[in-house]
């Protein structure tokens, strides 16, 4: 076993996965603080994501036993999950917590809708209603993925700030929104390219890891901008603008153009033509027709809702650009950089492929620029996919980003690829929740995801992913309690796994115990509930908490074990026990007695307790009244049919001091005769083979008989 050869104080555990670049070997040090060499290791799963490692020393020979060191130690090792995404545990749990409610709500709505649709035959209203629910669900999940507060908005806008530094958007949110655009948002299918543009504007920074992007270029330029005096002479100024224009960040371009030196008051007169050209380009950019119902607050352009309107406007806009391109004013502009830079921007707007390719850094950006300027009327996934393929050829990728893989899968209408990409890059949370979007979006996906697979144990892919996610949840001490929500949405295997999970929860922790019982109550798992209570009861009983033990056994209605306990109490009868022991015994009878149904023999024990109590109060010098009461209790106990025969002699033997009371006899003739008869009955019973002899001195019978006879004699004389 790896790690066992170590001679150091602490063992290290090395997982035996083959080393690869993606998964470096993780070493977990064990602090077991055993000094001598380790003889044996035993590893098992503990609660959640922890391993329980039992470390044993070599069994010591008798001579060295006294070294005071333990023979072994049990240590727990928490395996940290090395998630791809840099989301810390608390953040991840927050996502898990807040996605519970939308998920559960959607499930219950779908459930009631499908119940309703079975009743009535009109299908369409059901479909649209279902869609609305999925949209609501998707928006809610998407909003919880960005739980950070928006940055405070300054009232005075910095004219030189061109890129907003958003607090690091999460890849997960980007992927979610991508799925939402393509699968859920059916009403805006016609303007998917524009949505993709918005999406890239939000998440472009995610792509700038090692490779440059438009966003990273702009960030670099913004830093530079502070120190630059004459921007229009800086080639980066023009580069930044052409890149931003290529991906459609019109407001950024216009803002940058207005920083042009010709706008300065002192230069306006001398550079009038130049300024006119800059402004003309800026106006044209801000008037760009967009095929979308509305724009975001800060964005520029003219919106068109219908395709004919948009096409008309687009042709007009293009003509204006061409007109400007051929304008004679260019000859009068003597600032070379401005002329070339503006011409370049015009080329972008005219859709010059080479210029676009130079202005963008990866195929995603190039694709967006093609949507904007080369094929503005692209619609349908197939043509988008073709464009994407062309862009990839122009800008091949060495190490594809996980989001680009997802986009290609979506554009290629390949559900399997989308699923694989989601699962590989975004993990179980994404899989469990995104399936809802996929099934809402395409019939093909719905069939694929809902089909039951025999090789998956008869579950569908949808259920499989929920089960996997539930497993992840149940491996953490704080999230296990939300796993039932997901498990109960799994028709085939969910309940079975839920039962397993509940059984695995440690009962010694009362909060967890009560939580498990509460979960059982919610999902009507009565058998599990009483089993858990029974386990808890036995646990508490074993650890000396008899009260808790009996309580939980009673809650579990475990007659069998309660009777076992009651039987143990019988052993006490006739034994001499210390006061403390009697108190324990008494307390237990009280505990058991509170439940009337477990009365098997408890009636006798209760009577016996009363008798024993009164007997304990009787000493040589106590008044006769107390002794009289004890004698009454004895007789009533002996008369009671519930008193087992085997206790008759011990009872009488216990009461010898009553039978031989000095002051006067306590029992009258008939009572004494009754007791004598009982003794006779006992002697007959002894002849039977199944008779159990009480553990009493050998002369017990004769001394009782003698005492009774004496008593009888005294009683006859008295009467």
């Amino acid at each position: 076993m790896p790690g066992l050869t170590s001679e150091s104080d602490d063992l290290a555990m090395v997982p035996v996965t083959p080393e690869s670049e993606n998964q470096p070997v993780v070493i977990y040090p064990l602090h077991h603080s055993l000094k001598s060499p380790i003889h044996r290791l035993s590893i098992s799963w503990a609660c959640g994501n922890t391993l329980r490692v039992s470390v044993f020393r070599k069994p010591q020979s008798d001579t060295t036993e006294g070294d005071g060191e333990a023979g072994g130690r049990v240590v727990e090792v928490k395996l940290s999950s090395s998630g791809d995404e840099k989301v810390d545990g608390a953040r991840w749990r927050r996502i898990a917590y807040s996605s519970v409610t939308p998920f559960a709500l959607l499930q219950s709505r779908k459930h009631s809708l499908s119940a309703a649709s079975r009743m009535s035959l009109d299908n369409p209203p059901y479909k649209t209603e279902c869609w609305e629910h999925v949209i609501e669900y998707s928006k809610e999940i998407s909003s919880l993925l960005s739980d950070q507060k928006p940055p405070p908005r300054s009232i005075i806008e910095d004219p030189k700030s061109v890129v907003n530094e958003i607090a690091e958007p999460m890849c997960l949110k980007a992927a979610w929104e991508l799925l939402e655009i393509f699968y859920v948002d059916k009403q805006s299918q016609s303007w998917i390219p524009e949505q993709l543009l918005d999406w890239l504007a939000d998440y472009n920074s995610l792509f700038s890891g090692t490779l440059p992007t438009v966003h990273s270029k702009l960030v670099d330029f913004q830093q530079e901008l502070v120190g630059v005096q004459v921007v229009e002479e800086d080639p980066n100024y023009w580069d930044a603008m052409s890149s931003a224009l290529a991906v459609g960040w019109l407001e950024t371009v216009v803002k940058l153009l207005r920083l042009h030196g010709s706008y300065r008051f002192d230069q306006l007169s001398s550079r009038e033509t130049e300024n006119g050209l800059v402004e003309a380009v800026a106006v044209l950019i801000s008037k760009m027709p967009r095929m979308r119902p509305s724009l975001r607050e800060e964005n520029l352009g003219d919106c068109y809702k219908t395709k004919p309107d948009f096409m008309k406007a687009w042709e007009k806009w293009r003509t204006q650009i061409s007109k400007l391109d051929c304008s004679s004013y260019w000859l009068q502009c003597d600032h070379q950089q401005t002329r070339e830079g503006l011409k370049n921007l015009i080329q972008i707007m005219l859709g010059n492929p080479t210029v676009l390719s130079n202005a963008t850094f990866n195929w995603m950006e190039l694709l967006i620029s093609h949507f904007l300027y080369v094929r503005p009327f692209t619609a349908g996934l197939e043509s988008m996919h073709n464009s994407a393929q062309k862009c990839i050829q122009l800008k091949p990728v060495s190490s594809p980003h996980k989001l680009s893989g997802l986009i290609l899968g979506i554009l290629g209408e390949n559900t399997e690829v989308v699923l694989a990409e989601c699962s590989r890059s975004f993990g179980p949370w994404m899989m469990a929740h995104a399936v809802e979007l996929l099934t809402a979006g395409s019939t093909h996906a719905e069939i694929l995801l809902h089909e039951e697979h025999s090789k998956l144990g008869g579950v569908s892919i949808e259920e499989l992913h929920r089960l996997v996610y539930a497993q992840v949840l149940s491996s953490h001490a704080l999230t296990w309690q939300i796993a039932p929500i997901y498990l109960t949405s799994c028709i085939k295997q969910g309940i079975g796994l839920l039962e397993n999970m509940l059984y695995k929860q440690p009962v010694q922790h009362s909060q967890i115990l009560l939580k498990s019982i509460e979960i059982c109550r919610l999902y009507e798992l009565d058998t599990i509930s009483s089993n858990i209570m029974r386990i808890a009861g036995v646990h508490h009983w074993k650890h000396g908490r008899k009260g808790s033990g009996v309580f939980w056994l009673q809650q579990a209605r475990d007659e069998f074990r309660l009777n076992r306990i009651a039987k143990q109490l019988f052993d006490f009868v006739g034994k001499s026990v210390s006061d403390e022991g009697f108190k324990q015994w008494e307390g237990l009878i009280e505990l058991l007695g509170s439940e009337s149904r477990t009365a098997g023999g408890l009636e006798f024990l209760n009577k016996y307790r009363d008798f024993r109590r009164s007997l304990l109060q009787v000493h040589g010098d106590t008044p006769t009244d107390a002794a009289c009461n004890a004698a009454e209790a004895l007789v009533s106990l002996m008369k009671n049919p519930s008193t087992p025969q085997r206790f008759w002699l011990p009872l009488l033997y216990d009461s010898l001091k009553l039978l031989m009371w000095q002051e006067r006899q306590l029992l009258n003739v008939s009572q004494t005769q009754f007791l004598l008869n009982k003794l006779q009955e006992l002697s007959m019973a002894r002849l039977r083979p199944d008779f159990v002899e009480a553990d009493l001195p050998s002369d017990a019978l004769s001394s009782v008989r003698l005492a009774l006879a004496t008593n009888l004699g005294r009683a006859i004389l008295e009467e």
Binding site: R94, A104, H476, L514, R521, S548, F551
Partner: protein, 360 residues
Amino acid sequence: MAVLTSSSQSLQVQRFPQNHYIDSLRWLPQLSAFHRHIILAAFDSESSTSSLQIKSLSNESSSSNPPEITLQSSLTTPSRISSLRTSQNPNKPLIAASTFSGSLLLYTADLVNGSLDFVDSVPEKGFHSGRVTGIDVSENGLEFVSVGEDGRINLVSFVGGRLSCRKVFDSNGLVSYGAVKWASPVEFVSGGLGFGLQWWDQRRPGGPVSQFKANWNHGTTSGIVHSIDIHPSRKHTCLAGGSSGTVFAWDLRWQQQPIMLSGVGTSDLSALSPSESDVWEVQYDNYTTSSNYRNISESRVLPAMICSEDGILAVIEQGEEPVELLAEPCAINSFDIDRQNPSDIVCSLEWESIAILTRS
């Protein structure tokens, strides 16, 4: 921020996500109107460490700047905290915390500098074996009573800067206690399994002077008392909350018949019960009654606030519809009503966050 308006009062709720589980939390005495502090017992599951934290609450109620809570001080505790109590000494409040391992820790908070200092502790040995389920601090802040799963009851006095501990009772595991509350300087009430309550008087040692055993729900399952409260103006009445949404008041003068306030076990009340699962904490709610509680007749139970496993924070009043303040998708583990400012409530949610409610 959410603003709910019910017929009589409006409510502001603010939620603050934390990065750890919150075992318990309390308001600390208020230094000034703008300085509010909360003490919370946090448990970090990643590192399996627990800590006590002082959080300060900025309370400039302007619409542009929502209130924020900031960590002022944090001390790691040797074991997870099971119960937390504070003394109402405004300058240097004492904070008593009982642990899962069976010890008692005493801290003092310096609210001016926002620091937390360890004072003394009672170690596990000879105190409790296993979890201390409940502690309470006396009115003068110097006497603590503790109860545990092990069936022991201990009194701890804080004299001369040191803690000294004295065993009051040991049931040797025959009884497990779940909660405790002082009734007077010499009397306290404990509660536990089977909805049992025990009244103890230090002048009569050896056992409880009075006991209540629930028998109202024959045939249905019994439950556990998780929390007890006693109102200073009515020391003969003990309010208890526990399993199955059960809340009842036990009046020493009518010991046989508890006054049921809520619970699904009793059929005539289940319609009025705000919760069906464990009631984790009960406290008398002085807010609604501060002006007119003298008018409430002696025989009626004062209004009480509860928080529950099924995510309910509500005010219940005898014979009236409960007023629901919060309905969360997760459990509300504990709450505290600010004593000086009873309109303000802080509560801890199972999903690692804190909610602060302001009634107006």
